[in-house]
């Protein structure tokens, strides 16, 4: 492998100078490599840290906030949910199947590293338009990779989202989230504290996979990146499954002082992170690290990103028992070094010292950049655009187009490939509700999970879009009947060194932070993926929010499907005309413009409280929030799911109806109730100050939309079902 210069490793001149100052000398090649990966954005967060600090991270429910492998929230009975979302965008762009598969593997390790049993996976995906053959290849490869890995592990993939937009053409997004369940007194942390205690590596042998992956993940994709590309990591889900079972056994028997997964930057990062927590040092003999390939240099061993490896720091005297357990699972653990007092990261090859770096230099000394954002020209221009200057489109065709838009159409083609029922906890299945719901065995409570982000809205107005992402996630949880607890996030942006991109980050994060505060859903974990750009353009800024919620009684979970003929259909929240940033504008006019309908945090909050209140009283037959496609699509989806028609009538003075039908204004939900429960609903809504408007009833086998008593749209249920149901499957044939 030819030697790289510090620039090729992704360090700039100033950073190289800092390193020399810290070291008091020129670093050798190995040391330089270690700095370069630890100081990459992916590990060091040098561009994002100042912004991340503005997130609210505390609350009575928070057991562990950012800083560990994953966040932890209390769900009572000495139980907690452990969760995090992480990106694998660049690897997936190069090799969709393996890139996505190893993405799942990585986030799952972050969860069981904390001592938690992984109980659910979700994923948030973004691709270019499906008309493009290469995109279809990426899409099917990524989905197959997530399925191949997650299904083999036996962790149900219960939810997620998929969007298609030209901005992701050259740079798809693959974000994987995992949720684990743990007894609070069993939580494990990644620390190496006791001086002299051995450091073990266990799992897969180390090969030359993904060397400099972390650096690679911190650069723009280009033709060059293909050439520069490190050997692609191939996942071994079977090995990971053995690791999960073995590691959870160690935790159960309280045999480990510290446990850390090997993720980005491999041994270098995981050892440095474990040692830094207590200001310790380490002595590591690279020649002890089990290899898959011959002739590997210390540099390659320390930077390898081979998958399915864990670092274990045993409790004193427990080594033997640990060996036993690993042997039972057919794994061998190898001692590669020990913890020292002096805070130095010492690397030996046999008895020759090949490198020595202060641990803190790799972690704390990572530079932090306070950049200046600059409002992009497009912002005001898009805001000032008024959709009502456009001729209204024909309504019926517009609805059909929305139903068959891959951004709205059924995602069944995707989730049928995921085992979403293994572990026998899934009680609201993919597609049946606004969030996934799992029962907690042996308890009456349930947990709900969702991921959300509408990149187009964030692009048009990062501040509003950021708030929206958090609000939609919380709303989705409330719709199924769960109280939002806390969130994780994956900040997918372009090149932060570009002032316009940095401005997007600043404002999106500002919006997310404000919403998270208002809704009392602190940020407990997350991940940052920058430099998501390809030759021609940056992606839509896409800060994906993953949120978890809790419902006291799972019997009160709610789906989105209309139930019985005669049930009344009610809109909670206001009628809105605003079409800014809507899918309708995009489909009917090819426009991604307009002022994003503003979020009113107070109103979001009262809607959520109302939905929870109604869940407790079991007032509703169905509940579905209004998002892409607006009121019209929300109604259609509830009908399609319920295999029934409906008739609704909207009243207004205006002459055009596209706004009312297709506005994606936030803070709203479509619900259905037994007529006998209408009064109760209205009373509750009044209490919470949420507008509540009866639109019509569930009936027949036609979707009928009236305006001032005149039929605006009439679609046969069967047509709606096939249009919405087959869109993605057919384009993937």
């Amino acid at each position: 492998m030819k030697e790289l210069t510090y620039r090729e490793m992704g360090l700039n001149d100033q950073e190289f100078e800092n390193i020399k100052t810290i070291m008091g000398r020129e670093p050798n090649y190995l040391e330089l490599g270690m700095f370069s990966v630890m100081w990459s954005e992916h590990c060091g967060y040098k561009n994002s840290r100042p912004l991340l600090r503005t997130f609210p991270t505390e609350g009575p429910q928070v057991v562990q906030g950012p800083g560990e492998n994953a966040g932890v929230v209390d769900i009572g009975d000495n139980q907690a949910l452990v969760f995090k979302i992480e990106s694998h965008n660049h690897p997936s762009a190069i090799e969709p199947y393996q890139g996505a598969a190893t993405g799942v593997g990585g986030i799952v390790r972050d969860i069981f590293t904390m001592g938690a049993r992984p109980i659910a996976s979700l994923n948030s995906l973004r691709f270019g338009p499906l008309e493009d053959a290469r995109v279809r290849q990426l899409f099917s490869g990524v989905v197959a990779g997530i399925a191949g890995y997650g299904n083999c592990l036996g962790i149900p993939t219960v939810g997620g989202e998929v969007y298609f937009n030209p901005s992701y053409q050259g740079n798809p997004l693959v974000n994987a989230m995992c949720v684990g369940l743990v007894d609070i007194d069993q939580i494990a942390l990644a620390v190496a504290s006791d001086i002299g205690s051995p450091i073990m590596i266990v799992g897969a042998k180390t090969g030359r996979d993904g060397i400099h992956g972390a650096t690679f993940a911190s650069e723009e994709l280009s033709e060059a990146s293909a050439a520069k590309r490190p050997a692609v990591q191939v996942g071994d889900p079977f090995m990971e499954k053995l690791l999960i079972e073995a590691c959870l056994e160690l935790i159960k028997e309280d045999l480990v002082a510290g446990m850390q997964d090997l993720g980005a930057a491999g041994l270098t990062s995981s050892i440095a992170e474990s040692a830094s927590k207590k200001g310790r040092g380490v002595m590591v003999d690279v020649s002890k690290v089990p290899r898959r390939e011959t002739g590997m240099t210390p540099y390659e061993v320390m930077l390898s990103e081979s998958q399915e490896r864990m670092l274990i720091v045993p409790r004193a005297g427990k080594e033997a028992r640990i060996e036993e357990i690993f042997t039972k699972w057919g794994l061998d653990a190898t001692v590669i070094g020990y913890v020292t007092e002096d805070g130095m990261f010492r690397l030996m090859e046999g008895n020759e010292q090949v490198g020595v770096v202060p641990v803190a230099a790799l972690t704390e000394s990572c530079p932090v950049y306070y950049r200046e954002g600059e409002e992009p020209a497009y912002y005001q221009e898009c805001r000032s655009f008024n959709p009502f200057d456009l001729e209204p489109a024909d309504l019926a065709p517009a609805l059909i187009n929305l139903l068959q838009s891959p951004n709205i159409a059924s995602k069944e083609w995707v989730y049928r490939q995921y085992d979403h029922q293994v572990m026998t906890n899934s009680s609201v299945l993919p597609g049946d509700g606004d969030a996934a719901v799992l029962r907690i065995k042996g308890r009456s409570k349930g947990a709900a999970f969702t991921t959300d982000c509408n990149g187009r809205l964030v692009y048009l107005d990062p501040y509003q879009g950021g708030m929206q992402a958090v609000c939609e996630a919380a709303r989705n949880l409330a719709c199924v009947g769960a109280r939002p607890l806390a969130l994780t996030n994956c900040l997918n942006f372009g090149n932060p060194e570009k002032p316009n991109v940095y401005w997007q980050m600043q404002n999106a994060i500002k919006g997310m932070a404000e919403a998270a505060r208002a809704l009392n859903t602190p940020v407990v974990s997350g991940n940052v993926s920058l430099y998501n750009e390809s030759a021609d353009r940056a992606i839509f800024p896409t800060p994906v929010v993953g949120m978890v919620g809790l419902m006291p009684d799972i019997a009160r979970r709610r789906g989105m499907a209309f139930k019985d003929e005669g049930d009344l259909i009610v809109l909670l929240g206001e009628l809105s005309q605003e079409l800014g940033g809507s899918e309708h504008l995009y489909l009917a006019y090819g426009l991604e413009k307009g002022a994003v309908p503003p979020v009113d945090l107070a109103k979001e909050k009262s809607l959520i409280e109302l939905l929870l209140d109604l869940a407790e009283k079991e007032t509703l037959a169905s509940c579905h929030d209004i998002s892409e496609g607006g009121l019209a699509v929300a109604l259609a989806e509830s009908a399609i799911k319920g295999k029934t028609g409906f008739k609704v009538n909207l009243e207004q003075p205006l002459s055009r109806w596209d706004g009312l039908l297709f506005s994606e204004a936030p803070g709203r939900a479509v619900v259905s109730v037994k007529p006998s429960k209408l009064d109760e609903l209205i009373a509750k809504a009044k209490e919470q100050g949420v507008p509540c408007l009866t639109l019509g009833r569930v009936e027949g086998s036609k979707l009928i939309y009236q305006g001032n008593g005149q039929e605006l749209i009439g679609v046969a249920l069967d047509q709606a079902v096939s249009t919405w149901g087959d869109a993605i499957r057919c384009s993937m044939k």
């Binding site: 889900p237 079977f238 499954k241 699972w329 490939q417 293994v422 026998t424 009680s427």
Partner: protein, 233 residues
């Protein structure tokens, strides 16, 4: 009635089966680690779903050589009940305890969805709580459930009423549209000649509780219990 759930490296429905037996059927149950060489004191074994040994090479191909398998075969010889679910079915095929083999789903993709099953034979330890012709809804979750065997084997399966479940539509239509994976003769589950070993691709343990949306699967475990308590004694 005492159940044993055999655990291979890579099994991932072992805990689900254990849960159904212990908490829903409320019968005693143990895990049996694949290194065990002896199986004593059990009335029934469950070979659970999952990806034993990663399902590398062929599903069930490597598990079939686990140290525990000779004991499993002996258990079968002595007439003990064995139900192999999904990967468990694939292992039974590889081990030759059941005839035939699994090919990849004709869609070439993993499929996770509820399917309808038609009960073809009610006079067995696994179906005595069901009616012949009854239609059950039970989820599948597999990439290789496309059952194959040669014509003479298929004939003998039919002649000996060894086919217990076939894929069908909501009203029992046994047609190709309702065949999710391309299985020969819509086969979803078969038993051995002796009748004490069942292999099925669908997952009864995934629909044995209301909270999971259905309880049809429970009837199969209930049948095993019934058979053990009454018929057999």
């Amino acid at each position: 009635m005492k159940f044993g759930v055999v655990v291979f490296p890579g099994s991932n429905c072992d805990a689900d089966c254990y849960h159904v037996i212990k908490d829903v059927l409320e019968q005693p149950v143990d895990y049996i680690w694949h290194r065990e060489k002896e199986i004593k004191g059990y009335d029934a074994l469950i070979l659970p779903g999952g990806f034993s040994y990663g399902d590398y090479l062929r599903t069930g191909a490597i598990a079939r050589f686990s140290p525990v398998m000779p004991a499993v075969m002996e258990f079968a010889d002595q007439g003990g009940l064995i139900i192999g679910i999904c990967n468990g079915f694939q292992i039974l095929l590889e081990a030759g305890l059941l005839p035939g083999a699994m090919l990849r789903n004709r869609s070439l993709t993993f499929i996770c969805k509820p399917v309808w099953l038609k009960v073809q034979n009610e006079a067995t330890p696994f179906t005595n709580q069901l009616q012949k012709g009854e239609v059950l809804q039970i989820p599948i979750a597999h990439g290789e459930g496309n059952y194959f065997c040669d014509p003479s084997t298929l004939q003998s399966l039919k002649d000996n009423n060894q086919i217990l479940f076939t894929y069908c539509g909501p009203n029992g239509e046994e047609d190709d549209i309702h065949n999710p994976n391309g299985s020969m003769a819509n086969i979803a589950g078969i038993r051995n000649c002796k009748g004490n070993v069942l292999g099925m691709m669908p997952h009864p343990e995934r629909c044995s509780e209301e909270v999971l949306g259905g309880t049809d699967g429970f009837k199969i475990f209930a049948s095993m219990l019934k058979w053990c308590q009454e018929v057999r004694l």
